[in-house]
Symmetry: C2
């Protein structure tokens, strides 16, 4: 008895998913809600920055041709407080960082290159000694030197990070058009699946790891996550849960369990009845029963309204399979919905820290922890590092040469063992083949977590020579 579904390769599955995924429409958010969102519309600068010639230093605004000497201080230009006077040759004005350079002055002398003098007799006029001559324009930012009025400061499709929040504030863009973020429902299935708080477990029961994990994964991807609980193993109950997802107008439903070959695996038949199942088996390890469907739904706003679409990802019940399938196929779809132009996982290369046995039946996504490390002394990789330093004309002693990403396996990869995803920041792409890859082999790796928290090798990572 075989499956009714053709086994397709994972790149084909990913292409099918993305071809059926549409970026969500634009919504308006305030600046405080913009972090992590993708701009749906370019942002222009309404004025130049600086809007006036601005001092780069605290010091004195001078006429550069005056040179070294003692000068009367005829006024002040402070950020936010401007004396309304020009600086004539033979005079200077006190100025603070960021303040407008008064008319007449064409350079700023930093305070470190000056000395205060006793006030002159007549009327107590402040005086200062200028100890260094300035060239014209010194320590002045011309109008528009940072941003010109009308410049596109951020393009549609750019993601708003920390710096971009500052850039938006700088140009007064406090209301922004960004892509909506997807609303994602998560449903577990199975009569044996019980709430994580259950202690002790009854006969045959297991705690639901997938729902908490997938809700966290969806939230981390910036989605609005909706908890749909656990569906029992009856067609009716499962159908009720699907109806709940539809009623809540979610963009995506993620189920786990109920997609293998068992006679109570009800997800695929249900999706066949209510929508289009695009694939039901994928040639990958783990995750073979991965299922993807789309449902076209009436909008509920009358017959003239265009329909809406719900994507359904039927993930396998084993928690590692769920974890891997989420990252490989669901996350890129969520990113595309949220407006990412390049939604796929980023691929890098890493060297194996230890030999890995290959699977002869399916390509494998092996969980690992990447870290930036020197090659083990005496290894082929160490010899290679020396060779690369020579060929690249690196200083022979460059402590940076030879450091690379090294992949440390998370251990036993059986798909029920979620500990194999603990601390994993990448999935290694291992070919379907007999045999073993040697330690030091270069393999491709897909990033599934921030490398900002990766392990630090003993002794740390060296800096640029001379830094």
């Amino acid at each position: 008895m075989g499956s009714a579904y053709k086994m397709i390769p994972i790149p084909e599955a990913q292409a099918i998913v993305l071809a059926n995924t549409r970026p969500l429409g634009a919504v308006t958010v305030g600046l405080a809600g913009a972090l992590g969102r993708v701009l749906a519309k370019e942002v222009l600068a309404p004025d130049s920055l600086p809007p006036f010639p601005a001092s780069i230093k605290d010091g004195y605004a001078v006429v550069s041709s005056d040179g070294v000497g003692e000068y009367p201080v005829v006024g002040e230009s402070r950020a936010g407080h401007l004396d309304d006077l020009p600086v004539q040759p033979g005079t200077v004005a006190y100025i603070t960082t960021g303040a407008p350079v008064p008319p007449g002055a064409d350079a700023v002398i930093q305070v470190e290159d000056t000395e205060p003098l006793p006030a002159a007799g007549e009327g107590g006029q402040r005086r200062v000694r200028i100890n260094k001559a300035a060239r014209a324009g010194q320590d002045i930012r011309p109008v528009g030197s940072d941003i010109m009025q009308g410049d596109v400061v951020l393009r549609a499709g750019e993601r708003v990070g920390v710096a971009e929040v500052g850039i938006l504030a700088t140009v007064g863009a406090v209301q922004l058009r960004v892509h909506a973020t997807p609303k994602v429902a998560v449903l577990s299935t199975g009569d044996e699946v019980v709430d994580p708080a259950t202690r002790p477990l009854g006969p045959g029961q297991i705690r639901d790891a997938n729902r908490s994990m997938l809700l966290a994964a969806a939230a981390r991807a910036g989605a609005e996550a909706v908890d749909l609980g656990v569906a029992r193993d009856t067609a009716g109950h499962l159908e009720g849960c699907l109806a709940a997802a539809i009623a809540q107008r979610v963009d995506v439903l993620i189920t786990s369990g109920g997609v293998s070959m068992g006679d109570r695996d009800l997800i695929k038949p249900l999706l066949e009845r209510q929508g289009v199942v695009h694939f039901g088996r994928v040639w990958m390890k783990p995750g073979k029963p991965l299922t993807f469907a789309t449902l076209e739904l009436p909008d509920g706003d009358g017959p003239a309204a265009p329909g809406r679409q719900m994507l359904v990802f039927g993930l396998p019940g084993n928690p590692v399979s769920s974890f891997v399938c989420f990252h490989l196929v669901v996350l890129p779809a969520l990113r595309k919905m949220a407006g990412w132009a390049a939604p796929a996982l980023r691929r890098v290369a890493a060297r194996l820290a230890a030999p890995l046995r290959l699977d002869p039946e399916r390509p494998e996504y092996h969980r690992c922890t990447l870290q930036w490390s020197p090659p083990p002394p005496g290894s082929p990789a160490a010899a290679a590092a020396a060779a690369v330093a020579t060929a690249a004309a690196e200083p022979p002693s460059s402590p940076l040469a030879g450091h690379e990403l090294w992949a440390v396996s998370t251990g036993n990869q059986i798909s029920s063992r979620l500990l194999s995803a603990r601390s994993a920041n990448a999935l290694l792409e291992l070919p379907c083949a007999e045999g073993t890859l040697a330690a030091g082999t270069l393999v491709s790796a897909l990033l599934i977590d921030d490398l900002g928290g990766m392990p630090v090798p003993e002794g740390g990572v060296p800096t640029t020579p001379g830094f």
Copy 2:
């Protein structure tokens, strides 16, 4: 006129900050609030997983010594529903993935290797043909093979990522002891600084980029961020803002502006009066006036209560300086408070995509965008890549050889130009020296953003050969 503060190197500044930063105490959170937090206490497994010998496949539980043949199906073991009968030699039981293997059976035959038979005459007994013999233990996970009762599944100090949420749910750990997250107040300073919504700007005014940016940065670091607005340039107003931060019991106050050499730069004198200023100038570009102080505060719970501490970071007013100083010194402190064992920014090496002029006066943190790319054809780096592939005995055609992190500068690095932080995911550590570093030079880089969104090179990144 010089500064009263000694200029210290950045590693010394970072060490001083971390030496004065204490991890926050433990609090209890539910599983749904655990993502991103650091465990303050190890988590043990209260029971084994699987708690029973469990089937890895949908199929039939058999006595392995029976071998190929036709057998009566005497019962079912479904996940969540168990018939209470042993499997005798000469019989089999239907079983689903994850379900307990009934007593007597010692292997599972996947359904793909079986054929249903017509029910036998007498009483309609179900029958099945087993087409492949099984070895003992086949497709069964023994009790505790994933997790043993009493195992430490996560250690104190581990951060809770997506997989860890699943692991915690698996072992029923729904209430967790984690480090508290810091409460961080952000204050801008300066009479010229106006709200980002201001349009058009008045004479001498600039919009406040730093406050929105630092609030976003603190939030992204997992902190609870408190907006304290803008302090005017008077000692009284600034002191009032500091009092507000103290009253709100924040762990950290971040100010921007008011720390350079101007005579209205009031931050340092205020901090000197109310606490200990540990440093007030750092040998770095940008960020020279960076200031760090600690305030010991009464706890308000009576004279016997231990005091509490507030860290104050006085960042420069230029937005890029603020951005760089936040990542280099504030972020590691926030991470240490939140329980990170290794709070420093992660360092990697990258090759320069274009020549970079060095600064002869200060070491520079040059903003750049890292991407994983092949070396430019014909470049020394390309020759080096060929050499490394040979020395490492890489298959000569390995498409992975020679790809490295390449650093693309964000352009003009003047500290007022926040566009130089746009899309930046790393800070290059450039030595203080005369001259220029050539394209292809290997330099150290500190990660300041997730590489999961880095640019993808034209043509993409290749996979492991054969994948």
